[in-house]
Symmetry: C2
Subunit: 458 residues, 2 copies
Amino acid sequence: MSKKIPTRLYLAEDEIPSSWFNLRAFMKDKPDPLLHPGTLKPVTEDDLAPVFCKEAIKQELDETTPFIAIPEGLQTFYRAYRPAPLVRAYFLEKALETPAEIYYKFEGTNTSGSHKLNSAAAQAYFAKEEGLASLTTETGAGQWGSAMAMACAFYGLGLTVYMVKISSEQKPYRKALIETYGAHLIPSPSNTTEAGKKILAVDPNTAGSLGCAISEAVEAAVKTGKCRYVLGSVLNHVLLHQSIIGQEVKAAFDKYDVKPDVIIGCAGGGSNLGGLIAPFMGDRLAGKNNIRFIAVEPASCPSFTRGKYAYDFGDTAKTTPLIKMYTLGNGFIPSSNHAGGLRYHGMNSTLSKLYHDGHLEARAEAQTEVFDAAVRFAKAEGILPAPESSHAIKAAIDEALECKRTNEKKVILFGLTGTGYFDMSAYMAYNAKTMTDYIPTDDDLEKTGFASLPKVDL
Amino acid sequence: MSKKIPTRLYLAEDEIPSSWFNLRAFMKDKPDPLLHPGTLKPVTEDDLAPVFCKEAIKQELDETTPFIAIPEGLQTFYRAYRPAPLVRAYFLEKALETPAEIYYKFEGTNTSGSHKLNSAAAQAYFAKEEGLASLTTETGAGQWGSAMAMACAFYGLGLTVYMVKISSEQKPYRKALIETYGAHLIPSPSNTTEAGKKILAVDPNTAGSLGCAISEAVEAAVKTGKCRYVLGSVLNHVLLHQSIIGQEVKAAFDKYDVKPDVIIGCAGGGSNLGGLIAPFMGDRLAGKNNIRFIAVEPASCPSFTRGKYAYDFGDTAKTTPLIKMYTLGNGFIPSSNHAGGLRYHGMNSTLSKLYHDGHLEARAEAQTEVFDAAVRFAKAEGILPAPESSHAIKAAIDEALECKRTNEKKVILFGLTGTGYFDMSAYMAYNAKTMTDYIPTDDDLEKTGFASLPKVDL
């Protein structure tokens, strides 16, 4: 008999997990390694040293340590906004008239508005410990840039953010938030880097892309020698930091004897999904549960569901290591009518491997239906969700309605990664019924995406 | 010996107070009654019946019941976003190098972005129970309109929001949020009411004011006969609902043996301040503590510090009952360079009485210094505060710095009423150093404000 479940399943401060969960250590079949693009050999710490912080590199290459301690100085920062609420969606359940139990982990109560702060804080902390004075990064929809700006303000680090140009224009308030926290923001592509200049030479009016902003931020970090680059998704050390999400959920579920049947997360580069599912997937791989894991991606940027499982670059300028992942090709840019994030061409390598091996399902959802779900959720549960998070809401509602049809009392958990307060222009379009969907044709994918895949012979 | 204080002093769900604290019941010297503007006699339930919901009227006129139970159906709604975090500001203390202990009650984790939802939920709940189908209200900066839109969406009520015209233009995203929750939004003044038409006839290009929007919303409610009007501040039933804030703080402080020396709240109409201080002020009036209570208002709209203690109308069209309060006169409109809320000409009657009798201090702060404090707080504690809340932050920082000077280990509590995510244009002006201050001259106050006070002979 399970305990009475409160609306919010809080953990006390001393119940916040003090270590990260390194999912790769629990996988017998490891994801394929990062390759040096010149030698096509697995990258070494030395290869990555000019770009990333030391501790990030160590974590990126660590496939064996199951639990990695969260330093006490970082735990102090986490306590300013964690534990994140784990909510029983009683109101949504009632609105859907479903027998299912629905829970969501809400990562949007901090000012950056999303889960991104979990890794931003970690990366800023390690940079500070290493003695660095400044960092560079990129941001698309702006959640990661906001999170890094907050973390750098807290730890007293300089920060330059290359923000995808169209986003910086469409989201002046997001830009203002980043600048209020003291970061230097440059719309990308820019004339401050060779990568930016090259792209501008081809198309001076380009809207920019995440892949291009990454190229600029990496170049800016490397050329000074005293600065390092930080990334908010895709890489395994980022997923490691995000495992605080799943670790907290598991601690709270264990406290209240809740056993999830389905876990759902939105997926762009994979940071939230990977963090949310980590300890539960670890148990699944050990045969301890039979949970279904569902990744939900935009139909406009369908890397899992329509991408190729191949080695590809992480950026447009083809300067990063090669990553084995589900990818649409580094040249793929989602249509500009796509709102919010989840616009990255590839997917984290660990999640890609799990998907390839059948441990993870994936589905792609059209934008207008995602916003239908968002508004339905907002009216029932109060919280106005981020467009990204709303992909998971859409799938959770669909699963709950399926339970209604079959009269099954499943336990559904989804990740509510953030709030939509800086995405109101998308909600305005939705309210005005001017929002459109875009689903690339096979031809689109071939020409703009797959054609850009590196021709590597492994 | 006090217990170790965590960063966030959470209450469990079953520790959320189940009753409101009716401060007037604890006052020997009651505030002066509302007067009917025609008869100049204290208003009766019947006088108010065409305008307000029945339960709101009952609560408005109840000066004797000390604790008023929060209905179970409303407690269910509260549990969706409460308890609100009570945070020990360890990082701010460290940044200020103060021996003081600083705490803040953070009401901004819900989507409306502020404490306003506490009364919006209550008023929507009572309207639903009464069998009403729709409500009208006004909003200035937009927090109240957002909160009512959320509450009405939840309880399935129609809502028309008269939004001060200049706010609806300056804050398109705030407007979009209100509309996303399904409310009908009309920029005020409008041609939909006689009050609006009159004001437009005099000045078709007026920016609008809260007093004018109130007139329109009241008229719209009364003329249908089937609709009622709801107000987000100033009145005593609103303060009653907001006492959930102070009740929660007191429950958490008692749990951790914390005894505040100073309690600070920003003050516009008084809803947050009154709610925050209620149980502590009750104890003070009973001789059980000697806490200092500080109201902080904008120097641009200084009703406590420069207003008159007099009977005045609550609205510009002079249709409401007369309220004995500190007021700048119902014709007073703050300069348009004033950002955010706290722009009401008057002040709640209970707080006015307490201030008049010396139980409450007040100070007025200039806008640019308030934003200095806001950004300082944001960088230390992570949360980007609302301009309104930042008035309290300014005073809390000043008190903490005074403790540093005198080496006193005082316990300071302030109300962090909300977030600034829909006030980014103000932060942009601050970042660009184009933000200006406005402090009305005595002559300004005489001509635009005091001249509008009713000439009543009591």
